[in-house]
């Protein structure tokens, strides 16, 4: 299936350049491509239109994240948010056009990457909120999966104080050694409450 091979090669090329900006030279070696097809693919990375293609893929992904992960992005502040989004896009290939899976992947990445205990907890919290909110919308309350989405996230500061600081763009409270657990569940009126 030569067309399948050409499409696979092109998608790999776009995906690689949209992420890290290059592709391992031997990635396409095993594919059954004609000399003309290889020459065309080889020519693309130097073409402005190819760069635009990759930029648009990233732009759509960024747009999805900015729509769906606002709490974490606000908590990070503009500079760190932009850096973390770029790091995520560089590290994680595009696998979906849907908002929620992209958001969940980013928040998992953020929770694992961020060293600050407050920020990491906020990313976990927002992830859990998305999951519980999705279940509340999508699942019947007697569905066996409904309660599977319930989660406890432990904050490193009183949650109301922390979230208030995020929403008012104030400095976050210092992380404490004490844990402040929060329950996130589709059964709760606002999806979460301190416990």
């Amino acid at each position: 299936m030569p067309l399948a091979e050409l499409q696979f090669a092109l998608a790999q090329l776009v995906s690689a350049h949209a992420a890290s900006g290059s592709m391992a030279p031997d990635t396409l070696d095993e594919l059954a491509l004609s000399a003309d097809e290889r020459a065309w693919l080889d020519s693309l990375p130097g073409a402005p239109g190819f760069r635009v293609t990759c930029d648009i893929q990233r732009w759509w992904r960024e747009t999805r994240l900015r729509e769906t992960t606002r709490l974490t992005l606000v908590a990070l502040g503009p500079q760190r948010a932009a850096e973390l989004v770029q790091a995520f896009l560089n590290a994680t290939p595009c696998t979906t056009l849907f908002f929620l899976p992209e958001a969940r992947a980013f928040l998992r990445f953020a929770a694992e990457t961020l060293e600050d205990a407050n920020l990491s907890a906020i990313a976990r919290f927002e992830h859990a909120l998305l999951v519980a909110g999705d279940a509340a919308l999508q699942l019947a309350s007697d569905d066996p999966d409904f309660d599977e989405t319930t989660e406890i996230v432990v904050f490193a500061a009183p949650p109301e104080e922390l979230l208030d600081a995020v929403l008012h763009r104030q400095p976050l409270p210092a992380p404490s050694l004490e844990g402040f657990p929060v329950l996130i569940s589709p059964r709760l009126p606002h999806l979460w409450q301190p416990i």
């Binding site: 299936m1 067309l3 399948a4 499409q7 998608a11 776009v14 930029d55 759509w60």
Partner: protein, 303 residues
């Protein structure tokens, strides 16, 4: 080729559409729904699954009770040689069980080259016999599957020197493909304008070579430029060169059944009801001028 009764002026369906358009709502003869946007995507049992969000589906069906519906898919990936998206077809089947539609369409593109190889942007097909042999039977099968016309939509792309055979350019490819598939064309005039500007060809000359009898629907949109390229984002009003193309083609496409102004959901509040309505009034004027010169009249054109 299946044709269909003219509908008139349409708009991209989105939640809260009637309120968002204000007076513009009354200008609409039909709405265009993308089943994908009514769905959530999940991984279940190791496989990807799409499920309707019931609240969104219910709202879309309420709209469908007030206006005829056409379908415009985003994720079928009809041009993927390794296989199109069966999940998309499953949700389209479910929609069809609930709500008949007048026609349906999808992008002439490759979105997922293989499982786990997602381009993240519709990629163009090479202008080759093999691509035609791949897509034509699929398009024909989709027309038979739902018993209404299936339309392929031309896309914007930015890749230079697409592989080609028989000296085909985009127009020749669309002509050959719609002929082989015996299907209709959703001519996105904004996409076409983008390609003309980005690749430096004369849009009107190119349109004059298009099989106009294949054009069932037209899309209009406005977007933004990036690094010197016009890009396919539906965030703005329709630019003047696209209106000029519409005014040229509308009276010449004998089977044209609808013109849709596409706007991204996120851009609707920024544009606002007054500007959106003004755009729809302009579409309506073109449609009415066309309809007045033909025996067929759209459902709402008499007002």
């Amino acid at each position: 080729m299946k044709t269909t009764s003219p509908l008139g002026v349409g708009f991209t369906w989105q939640p809260g559409l009637q309120a968002a358009l204000g007076r513009g709502w009354e200008l609409l003869d039909f709405v265009e729904i993308s089943p994908d946007v009514l769905c959530r995507e999940s991984m279940a049992g190791g496989g990807r699954r799409l499920e309707y969000r019931e609240a969104l589906l219910a709202e879309a069906l309420r709209t469908a009770a007030e206006r005829p519906v056409v379908i415009h898919g985003l994720g079928l990936s009809i041009g993927t040689a390794a296989g199109w998206d069966e999940e998309y077809l499953r949700i389209l089947d479910l929609f069809h069980e609930r709500q008949p539609f007048c026609w349906h369409s999808d992008h002439l593109a490759c979105l997922t080259a293989a499982p786990q190889t997602h381009a993240g942007i519709p990629l163009p097909l090479p202008l080759t016999d093999e691509a035609i042999a791949l897509v034509a039977p699929r398009a024909r099968a989709l027309g038979e599957r739902y018993g209404v016309p299936f339309l392929l939509e031309n896309i914007t792309h930015y890749l230079p020197n697409l592989p080609t055979e028989r000296g085909r350019d985009e127009i020749a490819f669309l002509n050959d493909l719609t002929e082989a598939a015996d299907c209709g064309l959703l001519l996105d005039l904004y996409n076409f304008h983008c390609n003309a500007v980005n690749f430096g060809f004369d849009a009107l000359e190119a349109l004059s070579r298009l099989r106009l009898d294949r054009v069932i629907e037209i899309h209009l949109a406005g977007g933004a430029a990036h690094d010197g390229f016009l890009t396919d984002v539906h965030t703005r009003e329709v630019p003047e060169p696209v209106w000029e193309l519409l005014e040229w083609i509308a009276p010449r496409a004998p089977n044209l059944a609808g013109i849709v102004y596409e706007v991204m959901e996120q851009a609707v509040p920024r544009l606002g009801p007054a500007r959106l309505t003004a755009q729809l009034e302009r579409v309506r004027a073109v449609w009415d001028a066309r309809a007045a010169s033909k025996p067929e009249r759209s459902a709402h054109a008499a007002r």
